[in-house]
Each structure stands twice: as C-alpha cells, then as structure tokens.
C-alpha cells in the first residue's frame, strides 16, 4: 500500500459577510486554499493518502479550523503566538516551514495561489525555496501514479502536463475540475481536536519572527478625474458614444 502525505496550507480570511455580531473573529478559509483542500480530498477518494492541514493564525481561528474535520482530514495544526502577529510572508513561510518539519515532511504540499486579502502569491514559492521542493504553480488537475505525480499546470498562456516525483509544492489558482464539496462521511470527526503550536514549540526565537518588511505609512488619495457626462436621450447618447469609439479605433 503506497502511502502519500499531503499537507494543505490554509490562511484564515476575515469574512465581512458573516460578521453580524460585529466580532473581529469571523473568519473563513481563503477561497483558493479551499480549492487546494478540495484537490487533496479528490485525490484521497482514489488513493490511500493522509491529509494534514496547517495554518498560522490568531487563536480565534480555532473554530473554523476545527470545523474542517467534517472532511476526511487526518490532523489539523495551528501555529499561533503573539510573536507571529503582523508577520510578513517571509516570516509566515518560515513558520509554515517549521511546522512542516515538525509534523513530518509531506510528499505534496498544496496551497491556494494567492489569498483573498493581500493576494501577493508569495507563500507557495517561498515554501518551495525553504523546503527545497519543486514548485508547480496553477495546478488544474493532479494525479498520483505510484510514486509519480502527474499534473496539469499553466504558465502564461500555455498549459503543460508535468510528470515528476515528490516532493512538490503545488499552488492552486482556479476551482478544481471537480468543484463539488466532498462527501461528509465523517461528521463525528468534528470531535477531533486541533493541535496548537506556539513559537517555542516550533523552536522559533523572537529574532526569527522579525518581518523583513515594515509599513511606513498608510494613505489614500482621490484620483482627480473630472470627465464629462454624455447627455441627451438614449439615442443621442448612443450616437455620441459611437463617435467616441471611432476616435480611438
């Protein structure tokens, strides 16, 4: 029996739509991280693999993470510490690296290509560099064949079929082909606990949690653009509109 281990990295995103209690603690799993999770779960329906979830987040994310046990997940780990607050991607990817090293290296690490909020798309490649894994980005389909990994990946306008061996870091940008929610055979599993690590558990010193970037200031500015209203009845406006197009065409 071939056993493969998949680790899915999750980021908790503030979900403004469900903050009906004015609470800061309303979070959800990032959209693309969910795609990554579905990709892993689809694989599990065909192969004997273990899926672990890791996340670096404030403690308030416990609830959301625990609820993910309704899917066929082996273990869920949360790294949380006041030292991690405000961490940039350099520190975040470092913490995730330490988590992965602690819980046991995976054959495949999956994460969403970019988060719903900052959208830097830096975690996947940073992790690949830190772990010395291959990086395959924009994975649209993923298959395992023994120790081989076969996947479809896009770069620019070209789609590639890639055959390689583990270990890899894969990033997911689009919903997987099979975008339905996986079966919830394991409702009882919700009783499982999540494992929590702090900086000390991961062997991370305060020094190592210093971000490499710092926000100097926040500002907004009004884009001053006056422009003109095209007026008249709809027929007039349409004619003027067509004139504008002819100017630029």
């Amino acid at each position: 029996m071939i056993f493969m281990k998949i680790i899915v990295c999750i980021k908790g995103i503030a979900d403004s739509k469900i903050s009906k209690n004015d609470s800061d603690d309303e979070h959800k799993v990032g959209t693309k991280d969910m795609y990554a999770l579905k990709t892993a779960l689809a694989l599990k329906e065909k192969h004997p693999i273990d899926i672990d979830i890791i996340c670096m987040a404030p403690h308030s994310l416990c609830g959301v993470l625990k609820s993910l046990y309704i899917y066929d997940i082996n273990k869920i780990y949360l790294a949380t510490d006041s030292l991690f607050a405000g961490a940039d991607t350099f520190v975040t990817s470092f913490v995730l690296q330490k988590m992965i090293e602690k819980i046991g290296m995976a054959d495949i690490i999956l994460c969403g290509k970019s988060s719903d909020d900052s959208g830097t798309a830096q975690i996947g490649p940073s992790l690949a560099e830190r772990l010395d894994y291959q990086l395959i980005s924009n994975i649209s389909s993923l298959e395992i064949d023994g120790h081989h990994i076969r996947c479809e990946s896009s770069l620019e306008k070209i789609k590639y079929i890639i055959e390689t061996k583990q270990p890899i870091v894969g990033t997911i940008d689009c919903p997987p082909i099979d975008n339905r929610y996986p079966s919830l055979r394991n409702i009882l599993r919700q009783k499982k606990d999540i494992t929590i690590f702090n900086a000390k558990d991961l062997g991370i010193s305060e020094n190592q949690t210093q971000s490499k970037t710092k926000v100097l200031k926040l500002f907004s500015y009004e884009k001053a653009k006056n422009g003109e209203f095209i007026t008249g009845d709809i027929s007039d406006i349409a004619i003027k509109f067509i004139d504008i197009i002819n100017l630029y065409n």
Partner: protein
C-alpha cells in the same frame, strides 16, 4: 563574470525573440532608482540574443547577464546567490508576471530580502536612501508605503504601471554570458497540450470590461455582439469572473491583468479599488452604469448613466444601420 557598482538588479523577460514590455518598464524604473543611489543597472535574462541584449542596454541596462544551458528558476536563484557574493545588491525588482511571481519570493528567501508585491510606486527616500515601496491594500483607496528592514530590498511591479525610458541607441553597456550548471530539477515537461497565443490587451486600442451590472446571459450576448463589431476583447472585474461572465485570465485589476489600451469601455462595473488600479493612468475610460455614484463613473472620462441592456440595444441598432 564581473560587474562593479551594479546594485540594482532586474530580471527581464522576453518571448518569441522579442523583449517584453515588462522588461522595458523594469529597466525604466530601475535606471531612475539607480541614478538616485549612484549605481548601475543589471538585467538578467534567460537565453536572450544580441538584438535583445542591445535593446536592454538602450532601455537602461549597464550590464546584461545572459543565462544559458540550465535555465529553470532554481538556476536563477542560485545565480543570484553567486552574484550576491560578488556584490550585494541594494534593490532587486521582478515583473509581477506569472513567471516573475514564481521567481521573486524564491529570490527573497535566498537573499533574506523583504519583498513587496505589486508596487504602484517606487522611489528613493531622500533622507535615508532606502527604497519606498508603495502598494495598494485590500481596503478601498488605501495605499501602504513599505520599506524592507533587510539590506536587500525587493519589489515586483505589474505590467503597465511604470513607464520605460525612451531608447538610447548610443548607450554603452556590457553583456556577460553565464552558463548555469545543472540544478536539481525533477520535472519532465511531458507535453504542451494547449497553447493559446492570445494577443494581450496591450495590443488592443479598445478593451471592454464587464461587471456585476451584466445581469444575465442575454445582456452578455449584447456585449459580445458589440465587441465583435468593434473588434475589442472582453475582460471583466473580479465579480464578473466569479459570475462566470469572463474567464479567470480575463480579470482586470492589480491582482489580475494590468492593461494599457487607449480606451476602456466599462459596462456595469462598480469600479473597485483593485479593478481601477488595473487600468493605466493614460487610458481613457467610458463608464456605462446606472449608478451615478459608483467609483467607475467617478473615474471615467466619459460618463453614461444608463441601463446596459437598453443602451447596448440602441448602440447596436445605430451601428448596424
């Protein structure tokens, strides 16, 4: 391989034997920054040619490093590591393209550098000499100016945000050849199964954008008919992508495609911060929207307050005549 006082590096891109627009833009901003910190500019390219190399020099490079033999991203990261031993850079910039965003974070880890993605402004602080990296936040109309706490400062820039220099055909520069040793890479690129040679929106004079205001398939059909008549491609906002009106690769925004057509026709788009940042400052915008208070209408050069369906029907009538 030798270079001196070249502390601003950019990683350029080219395709089909032509230097990409992003490379021009990278060299433009790099040379401006380099001047401020009294440094030269290096551009690193994979498998370029003599024409491309000369063009790079003309657009602002003092050194062109042409990497050949083994040219995957791991090789480039290893090269940067070696270059760092020769001379530590102050600034490293990559394009925020599909390729660039895979490269930049890996470089940042290797060089222990603070990296700011999707910068809309880069300048040198006159007091500290440090790079001020400005990027949009996820909050509407709020920008953040960021500095790296590390010595090496990294940034990525989206296409069409920064301007290139005018080419200087008399500029002198040096080309350095680097044959990369084999780096561990287990990939077998088995097959290219789909190759969409799509002309980017940069090549179009007019681009159409659709948003949430396109309420159903029938209205989309009207947009498509209109688009066909004026030979314009259809792109969209994040909501349009989520609704399935346009594909994932057709999202315009600072986290999507950043475009620079002469005219952008925004139909039923509210104009989120993210979306507006995807449109070049020089592009003229027509907004067709029922909401006079929307950000898209406010930002537009030509404002049409009308329902998309009625308006498009009228336009099609007039055009077909």
């Amino acid at each position: 391989m030798l270079f001196e006082n070249a502390r601003v590096w950019v990683f350029g891109e080219h395709s089909n034997g032509v230097l990409s627009g992003i490379s021009h833009q990278l060299l433009g901003i790099a040379s401006k920054l380099a001047k401020k910190i009294k440094s030269k500019v290096i551009i690193i390219l994979i498998e370029s040619n003599e024409t491309i190399n000369r063009e790079c020099i003309g657009y602002g490079a003092d050194y062109v490093i042409n990497v050949s033999l083994y040219t995957n991203i791991e090789s480039l990261v290893d090269l940067a590591d070696k270059m760092n031993l020769i001379e530590e850079p102050d600034i490293v910039i990559c394009g925020s393209t599909e390729w660039g965003i895979n490269l930049a974070p890996r470089l940042a880890v290797k060089l222990c550098a603070g990296l700011t993605a999707n910068c809309v402004d880069l300048e040198i602080c006159s007091e500290t000499g440090r790079l001020l990296q400005t990027r949009p936040t996820s909050f509407n109309n709020l920008f953040a100016t960021i500095i790296s706490t590390s010595k090496i400062q990294m940034a990525t820039i989206k296409p069409n945000i920064f301007s290139p220099n005018t080419i200087d055909n008399y500029k002198k520069g040096q080309v350095l050849e680097y044959q990369s040793p084999k780096f561990k890479n287990g990939f077998t690129l088995q097959k290219i199964i789909q190759c969409i040679e799509e002309k980017g929106p940069d090549n179009n004079q007019i681009v159409i954008g659709v948003g949430n205001g396109i309420v159903d398939y029938h209205v989309l059909k009207l947009v498509e008919s209109f688009a066909n008549l004026i030979h314009a491609p259809i792109y969209g906002s994040r909501e349009a992508v989520a609704k399935g009106l346009v594909g994932f690769d057709r999202q315009i925004g600072i986290t999507g495609k950043t475009i620079n057509p002469k005219l952008y026709i925004a139909i039923g788009i509210s104009g989120s911060h993210n979306h507006l940042l995807g449109i070049s400052k020089t592009t003229k915008i027509v907004a067709i929207n029922t909401d006079i208070e929307s950000e898209m209408v406010k930002a537009a050069d030509y404002k049409i307050i009308s329902d998309a369906k009625d308006f498009l029907k009228m336009v099609l009538q007039k055009m077909v005549v």
